[in-house]
Structures are given as structure tokens and as C-alpha cells.
């Protein structure tokens, strides 16, 4: 199972059969789009910028100046405590973007930064408004995506509050597999995961020491294999059972919400 670091995908047959654009794939995983819709989405996601790992796209307190769309790599929403401790509240994978209605806020209450090198597009707020006005299918899909973001956040709260360390990590791995598969960024049950143990610790409310132990334990039991930049799930049914993973909250079309 090979996959490259750019997460360019495995050529899995997509519903549309026409695009590698993760925004289109993501929205199509939620609702049908027309050819015109797809053309508009291709246009707004053209000309991404390369952003190095560990870069803030927008900081807490900043006035929102646009919507950031991730086309490659992994970014996150996070907050810092005064002592420097970081909590990551969400991952933005290819096709994800920060809130569309963010312009209604005067200042960001959290930061968005890159966990790996990313390809990022900043979309003007005017462009977003035009998009929402003229394209009902896209508007519908974007609203569904917002609901999914909120449902995912709820699931992460359950993760942090009521799952063991091992279950938290297993759950995150199962979730990322489905989210990345929906945008064509998986190879079988594997995907690029170019983030550190510290990142995973700050995501799951654990220490880096605990994450190291959990990863080792999952590996020794034949559930996963992990290199620096790649995660391979070796036994998905067992990993899902361990995490009590139910994909219903992702509301993906074409997958049974078991």
C-alpha cells in the first residue's frame, strides 16, 4: 500500500469520475452537484499557496479576512493556554475550510494553523457570498458540511471526556480514514498522516508519552502500522470495535450509517 506524501490519492473510482479536487469530492459526498457547480468550485480553488508546517493561517484575536480552504495536508483549529499548552479542537483535511460565516465575527476566538505542509486557498468573503447566492446545490452541501463539522466536534467531546487514551486514538484513526477516503486521499485502509506524536497528544488530551505507548500497543496487537508520515490500518474491524466507532455523525452519502 503506497501513498505519496502529497496525499494525491489512490485513484479509487470516484462518483464523479472527473476530479481530484477535494472540495468537490467532499461536497459531493454530502449532496449532488451539477457540472456548473463543479466548475465554480474548481475555479475558486485554483492557485493554492504552499504553506509550511507549523504556520498560523489566522490567530486568536485576528479579524477574519477570508475563508481558508485546505487542498492538501492537514491543518487544525487550536487554542493555547497561558502556559503554552495547546488543545487541538478539529483537523482540517483536504476539502475542509474554516467557517463560512466567520466574517460575522469581529475577532477569532481560536487559531487555525498547519500541522503539515499544506496547499491552501484563501477565498474572499465576497466570493463566498456570490457562491451562496447563485448555487443552491452548493449552498445545501455547505450547510450539511457545517452540520457535520458540529457533529464531529460533539464526537470529539465524547472522545476527550469518555474514552480511554487508546480508544481516543483508535477513534481518530477510524474517523480520518473515512474523511480522507471521501476526498480520495486514501490507499486501501492507509493514508498520509504527516503529524507528530505531540500533535496527536494535543488532539487527544494525552501526553506525548501516553501517545507513544498507545501507538506501540496498537501496533503490537496488529491493528496499525505507522511510519513518520503514513498510517496503515491493518485490521479495520477490530480498530472500529475497539473505538466503538459509528460513522453516522459524518453523514456520508453511500456509506451505511451502521
Amino acid at each position: 500500500m503506497q501513498n505519496d506524501d502529497t496525499g494525491a490519492g489512490d485513484g479509487t473510482a470516484r462518483a464523479s469520475g472527473r476530479t481530484n479536487n477535494p472540495l468537490i469530492l467532499k461536497l459531493e459526498s454530502l449532496a449532488p452537484l451539477s457540472d456548473d457547480d463543479r466548475a465554480v468550485l474548481e475555479r475558486i480553488s485554483a492557485n493554492p499557496q504552499h504553506v509550511e508546517r507549523g504556520t498560523d493561517l489566522i490567530r486568536e484575536g485576528d479579524k477574519p479576512d477570508g475563508v481558508y480552504l485546505i487542498l492538501d495536508g492537514i491543518a487544525c483549529r487550536y487554542k493555547l493556554r497561558a502556559n503554552g499548552a495547546r488543545q487541538i479542537m478539529a483537523y482540517l483535511v483536504p476539502g475542509d475550510y474554516c467557517d463560512l460565516d466567520v466574517a460575522m465575527l469581529k475577532a477569532m476566538d481560536h487559531a487555525i494553523g498547519t500541522l503539515s505542509a499544506c496547499q491552501v486557498v484563501r477565498i474572499d468573503l465576497d466570493t463566498i457570498q456570490d457562491l451562496l447566492r447563485g448555487h443552491p446545490n452548493i449552498t445545501h452541501a455547505l450547510r450539511l458540511a457545517t452540520l457535520v463539522d458540529e457533529a464531529t466536534l460533539r464526537e470529539w467531546v465524547v472522545n476527550l471526556g469518555r474514552r480511554s487514551g487508546e480508544e481516543r486514538i483508535a477513534h481518530l484513526m477510524c474517523e480520518l480514514l473515512l474523511r480522507l477516503r471521501a476526498v480520495g486521499r486514501t490507499a486501501g485502509d492507509g493514508y498520509a498522516l504527516p503529524i507528530t506524536q505531540e500533535d496527536l497528544a494535543d488532539t487527544t488530551g494525552l501526553t506525548s508519552v501516553h501517545v507513544n505507548r498507545m501507538l506501540r500497543g496498537l501496533r503490537e496487537r496488529g491493528l496499525i502500522e505507522r511510519s513518520e508520515r503514513q498510517l496503515q490500518i491493518l485490521d479495520l474491524p477490530r480498530l472500529e470495535a475497539l473505538a466503538e466507532f459509528k460513522p453516522n455523525y459524518l453523514h456520508l452519502v453511500g456509506r451505511d450509517a451502521a
Binding site: A85, N212, R213, R216
Partner: protein, 81 residues
């Protein structure tokens, strides 16, 4: 301040086993675990596996040796809260 150490093995579910219970005035205040080879560069450092009362801290650093760990614990017992 007098801290008393007692060697013990902790079932961390990993190769990290060598541990010390840390007592202050007869009360257990912390469990320190020595990190094993599985932690690469951090092998040999001491990890605050558990801290009780004022020593409870999710963001505690790793300690180069037991002296450093005890200094940190004493500071918490003296200054915290």
C-alpha cells in the same frame, strides 16, 4: 522538605515499568516512571505518571533525573495554589 522514594513497578501497558512512589509526610503525592527505550531520545527520563493534590499536572515536563523530579514536586507542594 522531606520526600521519600519507594521503588515499585507500574503496569503502564508498555515497556515503561521501573517506577518510584513519592511520599511526602507519609502521603503518596506522585508516581514517577522511568521512560524505556521505546521513547527514543527521552529514554532514561522520568515521567510524572500520576500526581495527587497539588502535584497533579497534565503538562508536567519530563525530568532528567530523580533529583530534578523531586525539586519540581517540592516546588509544587510549597508554592502551588
Amino acid at each position: 522538605m522531606n520526600l521519600r522514594l519507594q521503588p515499585v513497578q507500574v503496569a503502564t501497558g508498555s515497556e515503561d515499568q521501573e517506577s518510584q512512589l513519592v511520599f511526602h509526610e507519609g502521603f503518596l503525592v506522585a508516581v514517577l516512571v522511568r521512560l524505556s527505550e521505546q521513547h527514543d531520545d527521552d529514554v532514561g527520563k522520568w515521567f510524572l505518571e500520576a500526581g495527587f493534590g497539588r502535584v497533579d499536572d497534565l503538562n508536567a515536563p519530563l525530568f532528567a533525573d530523580l533529583d530534578a523530579a523531586q525539586i519540581w514536586i517540592e516546588k509544587r507542594l510549597t508554592h502551588a495554589g
